[in-house]
């Protein structure tokens, strides 16, 4: 615990050092925060390895009940994931930071944001949790508007985010307070011991309120509207933190309250979680395929992956009291592994997108291309992480999604009908999103990094600073480790899942480098797979060299008979996503416009052709817009009674007093 507190202390020091003069500010602040992350990582790792739970309590900092922190394996896992991305983002910052992000307040907020993310999973009383939760919300909201001078969209995004996150926090607070009705105490231990004494209605409504808040943080559809606006607008290291750690806090909250504090609750809670997850997975994946803004694409894919995580969490909750508790733990382990894997690859992808934006000045895929020749390192890591998110075997996305599939499949035996339906739907969602994610990332990689450069910005791109490359490589390595030898981290994930499921003692996976189900059928050895695949590749290469004896010949690509090929003839991101956009037009509701002007002499020849295609968020348009408009109308109507006359304001008070008196009399 001391280690974690020292780590948080270093982060706090980082907040202070952001007041240093401009020349030292970024390196010193980022180093402090990176050190803090490293210490927090060690502290959390120790808890995961030993399985001990450590706690800390002082009455000095917060009034009434004091400040309570407990580090148990479940929280430790989330701290590990956060610390990894936090460390990488800090290192990345050293090369990246320029312009507005360099300012005192922005750097301070950035470190405060990391601090809050490291502290949320360790908070063990309502007051402490809400303190860090709000710090996280406020600092991230302010970080979104850091670049608001250049980008007007950032203001809108911050407003959306601010409203949604505050409503979410209020809902969480209300739900947690409901849990204190019986015991009165607000530490998690007290809540846990009194949870069973609460009436089922109170328990259910508390969980639903808490779920509402945490799910909106986790970007679950239909509470996701802020996410594709906010994540792209933040500076890239912040986006990486938001997308890989902050959304995971939503998942953490659901597991902590539902599984740990309330001991599982009833099945329909978890079926609701699976439903939310399914909806998010499909919706996010679908939107990712049609996005052309690279960071927006990544944000939608975050919704998608978090949806899969929620499916795992929901399946675990639904299965824990039926027949196979080991399968429930398997599903939870899969969800947790996916959280860590997602932190790795999504962090790397966002940092990569930041590198691209820095090098080319744009994040529109339709204006990129050919970056593989100019930014080889960035491209390699981006490609690796993209393969991981597409669940290519031997990478982390594959091992975690395989485990999730196993958890869902093995849950079929003696599951009740509603659970069975939920599991089936989850499996279908997993399969379908797998395909859609592949489309989205083939597009991001193929259009953005391969082919020819489409604009001058892409032509003139150069490789980014070494610190940025190191940071990306670090997160890329997470994908490889978790993918090749997932067995190494299985004991750690197992501990976290055990503590999440109220101290179960099962271990559904056997020890080893691969993933081998202990009592059930199913095993995978990515390391062997990799060796085998590598051997086949080498063999093919050797055979090719020996037998075919043909030296490589370099020619231009086939251009359908045309001599000159320009970059504009290439497939664009918009055209790549167009078929899917057509197929799913009912969900995506694209708005396309074709504007044709003819030459004055003849209508058979066109002078110019303009095509516009826009996919806006249907949930926002049909679910949120009417509410916002109604509120605005109400506000306008209420303004009419405000005319600035002091007599009128006084008269309001007088009339109100008279009405009260008459009613009383």
């Amino acid at each position: 615990m001391t280690l974690l507190l020292v780590g948080l202390g270093f982060c706090l020091l980082g907040v202070l050092t952001s007041a240093l003069p401009r020349t030292y500010r970024v390196p010193v602040t980022a180093s402090c925060a990176a050190l803090g992350c490293a210490l927090a990582f060690c502290a959390a790792m120790r808890v995961l390895v030993t399985g001990d739970t450590v706690s800390f309590h002082t009455t000095l900092i917060l009034p009434l009940n004091g400040f309570a922190m407990t580090l148990d394996p479940l929280g430790a896992l989330f701290i590990v994931a956060t610390a990894l991305v936090g460390f990488a983002s800090c290192v990345y910052c050293i090369g990246y930071v320029r312009g507005e992000l360099q300012s005192r307040s922005a750097m301070g907020l950035f470190v405060a944001f990391i601090l809050s993310l490291l502290a949320v999973p360790a908070a063990s009383s309502i007051a402490t949790l809400m303190l860090f939760w709000e710090l996280m919300a406020v600092s991230s909201m302010l970080l979104i508007v850091v670049e608001h001078r250049h980008r007007r969209e950032a203001r809108d995004a911050a407003l959306w985010y601010g409203v949604m996150t505050q409503l979410g926090a209020a809902s969480i607070l209300l739900g947690l307070l409901l849990l204190t009705l019986r015991g009165g105490g607000q530490t998690f231990t007290e809540i846990k011991s009194h949870a069973d004494a609460l009436s089922p209605i109170v328990r259910s409504s508390a969980f639903m309120l808490v779920l509402l808040g945490f799910a909106s943080k986790a970007g679950a559809v239909p509470l996701h509207v802020w996410l594709p606006k906010a994540h792209p607008e933040a500076p890239s290291p912040v986006s990486a933190m938001m997308s890989s750690s902050m959304v995971a806090m939503g998942v953490y909250g659901i597991i902590r309250v539902g599984d740990d504090l309330l001991h599982g609750g009833t099945v329909w809670w978890w079926i609701a979680v699976v439903a939310l997850g399914t909806l998010s997975a499909l919706y996010g994946a679908l939107h990712a395929t049609t996005s052309t803004d690279i960071k927006r694409l990544l944000a939608y894919s975050t919704i998608d992956i978090l949806g899969l995580v929620l499916i795992g969490v929901g399946a675990a909750g639904a299965l824990r009291d039926t027949g196979h508790p080991a399968v429930a733990q398997l599903a939870l382990m899969a969800a947790l592994l996916l959280v860590v894997a997602h932190a790795g690859f999504k962090g790397a992808l966002f940092l990569g997108a930041g590198a691209v934006e820095r090098a080319t000045g744009t994040r529109d895929l339709d204006q990129l291309g050919g970056l593989i020749h100019r930014m080889p390192v960035t491209t390699t890591i981006f490609a690796l992480s993209a393969c991981s998110i597409m669940a290519v075997p031997t990478l982390s996305g594959f091992s975690s999604e395989w485990l999730l599939l196993q958890g869902l499949l093995h849950g079929f035996t003696d599951a009740s009908t509603p659970t069975l339906i939920a599991l089936l739907v989850g499996i279908v969602a997993l399969a379908l999103t797998g395909g859609l994610t592949a489309v989205a990332f083939v597009k991001a990689l193929g259009i953005g990094f391969l082919g020819q450069a489409r604009t001058l910005g892409a032509v003139n791109a150069t490789e980014v600073a070494p610190t940025m490359q190191i940071a990306m490589a670090l997160l890329g390595a997470v994908s490889i480790v978790l993918g090749l030898v997932p067995g190494l981290v299985v004991p750690l994930i197992n501990r976290a899942a055990q503590s999440g499921l109220s101290r179960s003692t099962m271990s559904p996976l056997a020890r080893g480098t691969g993933l081998v189900l202990a009592q059930l059928r199913g095993a995978i050895q990515p390391a062997f797979l990799f060796v085998g695949a590598a051997a086949v590749l080498v063999a093919v290469w050797l055979i090719n060299r020996r037998l075919v004896h043909r030296s490589a010949r370099r020619v231009d690509a086939w251009g359908c008979g045309r001599d000159v090929q320009t970059a504009r003839m290439q497939y664009t991101a918009t055209s790549f996503g167009e078929p899917l956009q057509r197929v799913f037009a009912d969900v995506l509701r694209p708005q396309s416009d074709v504007e044709l002007t003819h030459v004055a002499e003849s209508r058979y020849y066109e002078q110019s052709l303009k095509y516009q295609n826009q996919v806006s968020d249907a949930v926002e348009q049909f679910g949120y817009r009417p509410v916002i408009d109604a509120v605005l109308r109400g506000g306008k109507a209420a303004r009419r009674i405000q005319n600035g006359s002091i007599h009128r304001y006084l008269a309001f008070g007088f009339v109100a007093l008279l009405v009260v008196l008459v009613v009383l009399a």
């Binding site: 006359s645 002091i646 007599h647 008070g653 007088f654 008196l661 008459v662 009399a665």
Partner: protein, 219 residues
């Protein structure tokens, strides 16, 4: 003091408080209004002193003296000075004209008797029977605050409200602790001092002291 004298004196003093409140609605000349206010302060102090004499309560007597000094002398004195800054100041066009105001005041007094019936019935005594007078003073003061245009009249309305509340507390609880009364009296004093600056400023900027001219609160 025998019972009949006590009842008579208390009724007279409390009645004077309400009458002076209604008089402020009637008169237009700001200086006359301030004189009425002074009269009300003195009557209020009289109520406190009569109660103190009846119950042999030294603290209440002290409170009564304090009220006499602050509300009977200092506050009206300050207001008179403000009024003197604008010697011909008259409440020429109140938002509700004088006859209508007086009729409305009568309605308010009836209303306060109806409302206070319950309070009186809880502990019927000579003092609590006069609670409606205090409530009526509050309502008349509030009415003045709403309908009069001049800054000084508005403050007089505010002080009427304060005096009404003080009267109710004296009658119901035989006076609040001295420190509370001291606090509220100082508040009123502060309001008057602030008003002085306000009126001087308005006089310099707008050449008149009617709050109609100020619509800056808009937006």
């Amino acid at each position: 003091m025998n019972a009949a004298t006590y009842t008579g004196a208390l009724e007279l003093a409390a009645g004077a408080v309400l009458v002076s409140a209604v008089m402020t609605l009637w008169r237009r000349q700001v200086r006359t209004i301030v004189t009425m206010l002074s009269l009300q302060g003195i009557s209020l102090a009289a109520v406190a002193l009569i109660l103190a004499a009846h119950e042999h309560d030294g603290a209440l007597a002290l409170t009564g003296l304090l009220v006499l000094i602050v509300k009977g002398v200092i506050v009206p004195g300050l207001l008179r000075r403000i009024a003197r800054l604008d010697p011909r100041s008259r409440e020429t066009t109140p938002l509700v004209n004088v006859p209508a105001s007086l009729v409305f005041a009568a309605v308010l007094i009836v209303l306060s008797y109806v409302v206070s019936a319950r309070v009186t019935s809880v502990a019927p005594s000579v003092a609590t029977r006069m609670v409606p007078i205090g409530v009526a003073t509050v309502l008349v003061g509030y009415f003045m605050l709403v309908t009069r245009r001049r800054a000084v009249s508005k403050v007089v309305g505010l002080i009427l409200v304060d005096n009404g509340i003080a009267l109710v507390t004296f009658l119901l609880t035989s006076g609040v602790p001295l420190i509370v009364e001291l606090g509220s009296s100082l508040d009123v004093l502060l309001v008057v001092v602030v008003l002085q600056f306000l009126v001087i400023n308005m006089g310099e900027q707008l050449r008149r002291s009617e709050l109609d001219q100020m619509k800056e609160l808009h937006d």
